[in-house]
């Protein structure tokens, strides 16, 4: 909803009359299931759904989301343990420790040298892309209609009705509903798998600002070990892998956490009761006002579902 484009409100009496008219329309008996022509078909479908619901075997009517597929595949991998030894012939097994030691020594030398000289901070930041937009609104980038390429540091805002899902593959997905605005954080290509373990992973710290509205975030499979710092007018957030939303208005910042946890700290200068900040745990939301006031409550069902949807489609 775009509150800046509010139409002139109806006088209360007119609002009540129109509301009564709509309630009469509801009571007039419009059968949203299509009336007599489709009744047998609709009744059969209803009965099939009922049977599935009562027996506990009801299946989803929507295609499996990427998120569910991802979870299914990771479950399979975690569910089984495959020993590398069992896959190798006996002779290879005897030679393997020595070869591994030699290879490790070479790798350590190369990686240490590369890390000292270059490091992945010199790598160009990964690109951002628009996964999808819905509704009639448009994504604005740095105040202009969406260019073909997005880059870290761009200021993005969704104007009009609808929403946009942006993604930095493997690292972070951002959802901008109407009037949501933020800057895009920079992620570098991860160090190669073998090197990352040897060098301690060289964690990255990406930074961004949430500028307006509601903005939802889901971290990706390559994010763990890294950090994301978000700033708003009222607070600073630090994230180490989670699904959460940041909701801003003129007076406060609200953080709703679905998974993981977010460290929330009032901005310097705020008259807060806690300089140390708080850890916002999964299933809760904490709001921090510009004047330092704070409140913690359970996450609202609607926000929980919006975040679950984003997580399931983004991962």
């Amino acid at each position: 909803m775009n509150d800046d484009l509010d139409p002139k409100p109806l006088p209360p009496a007119e609002e009540q009359r129109l509301s009564a008219f709509l309630q009469a329309d509801a009571a007039a008996g419009l059968d949203p299931r299509g009336g007599a022509e489709v009744a047998p078909e609709a009744a059969a479908r209803r009965e099939a759904i009922r049977r599935g619901f009562v027996s506990g075997g009801l299946e989803s009517s929507l295609p499996a989301s990427g998120g569910e597929a991802h979870r299914a595949s990771t479950t399979e991998i975690r569910g089984g343990t495959i020993s590398l030894d069992s896959l190798l012939p006996r002779r290879t097994r005897r030679v393997w420790p020595r070869v591994a030691l030699a290879a490790a020594a070479v790798l350590i030398a190369v990686v240490a040298g590369r890390a000292l000289i270059v490091g992945n901070s010199r790598e160009p930041a990964l690109a951002w892309s628009v996964r999808q937009t819905t509704g009639t609104g448009a994504l604005m980038v740095n105040g202009r209609p969406q260019p073909p390429l997005l880059k870290a540091g761009d200021e993005v805002r969704f104007e009009g009705e609808g929403m946009a899902d942006l993604i930095c593959e493997g690292h972070l997905a951002i959802q901008l509903p109407t009037d949501g605005a933020c800057t895009l954080p920079a992620f570098r290509p991860p160090a190669r798998a073998g090197w990352r373990g040897l060098t301690g992973g060289r964690p990255q710290t990406a930074q961004a600002s949430v500028l307006a509205g509601e903005v939802r975030f889901v971290t990706g499979a390559q994010f763990p070990g890294n950090h994301l710092r978000l700033s708003t007018r009222a607070a600073e957030l630090e994230v180490t892998g989670t699904t959460f939303a940041v909701i801003l208005n003129a007076e406060s910042t609200c953080v709703c956490v679905l998974e993981g946890a977010v460290k929330l700290q009032p901005r310097a200068g705020a008259q807060s009761q806690s300089r140390a900040g708080w850890r916002v745990e999964a299933g809760t939301r904490r709001s921090v006002a510009v004047d330092g006031g704070t409140r913690i409550e359970p996450i609202l069902p609607m926000e929980r579902m919006k975040l679950e949807m984003l997580r399931d489609t983004a991962r």
């Binding site: 909803m1 949203p32 209803r46 989803s60 069902p301």
Partner: protein, 190 residues
């Protein structure tokens, strides 16, 4: 007349939510009978298409079953159920299949089909078709608050709980939605 309030009184007596939560088949059946029509009606008016409403209703009850542990027996489950319904509608809108279907199958055609067999009186049918078409012209958030308030008997506090906004914001959103709807229905309402 408020459709939901009438049946809601019945539900309070007949559906034991703690037994629903325990997946007792008989209670699940009563729960389904109590809420299916509300879910289907909201989905049909939100989507403007009967066959999609059936898919949405199935998905809603699938999700209810999947997260039945979240059902709080001490609270009216309608906001929770309607929140799931609104979310599934939103998910279907966002799906590729729905967007491609919209190109060849305009929603207005379905709005007319939705009512054509349900009423016999010509003027009444025209009026209902126009109301449905006007509702479909609203953005989904505005449509949802109108449907919850005027078609499902939710008060602003229940809308706030369903949509996940404050009471004041729910009131404001409804006023805004009805102000947008008023000129679309010009000449129809007294």
């Amino acid at each position: 007349m408020n459709q939901d309030e009438t049946s809601s009184g019945v539900a309070a007596v007949t559906v034991d939510l703690s037994r629903v939560r325990a997946r007792d088949p008989e209670s699940l059946g009563l729960f389904f009978d109590r809420y299916f029509d509300s879910v289907h009606a909201l989905a049909a008016r939100m989507m403007g298409r009967r066959e999609l409403a059936e898919d949405v209703a199935q998905e809603v009850f699938y999700r209810i079953l999947r997260s039945i542990e979240q059902l709080d027996p001490a609270r009216d489950p309608r906001p929770w159920i309607m929140a799931i319904t609104a979310n599934v509608c939103r998910e279907v809108w966002r799906s590729r299949g729905y967007r491609s279907a919209r190109v060849t199958d305009p929603i207005e055609t379905h709005a007319a089909a939705l009512t054509s067999s349900a009423v016999t009186d010509e003027r009444r049918r025209e009026r209902q078709t126009r109301v449905q078409e006007s509702l479909l012209q609203l953005d989904p958030d505005s449509r949802l608050v109108i449907l919850l308030h005027d078609y499902h008997g939710f008060d602003h506090a229940e809308i706030a709980e369903t949509v996940g906004i404050s009471h004041a914001a729910a009131r404001k959103r409804y006023s805004r939605a009805i102000a947008i709807l008023a000129p679309l229905l010009e000449g129809l309402w007294p």
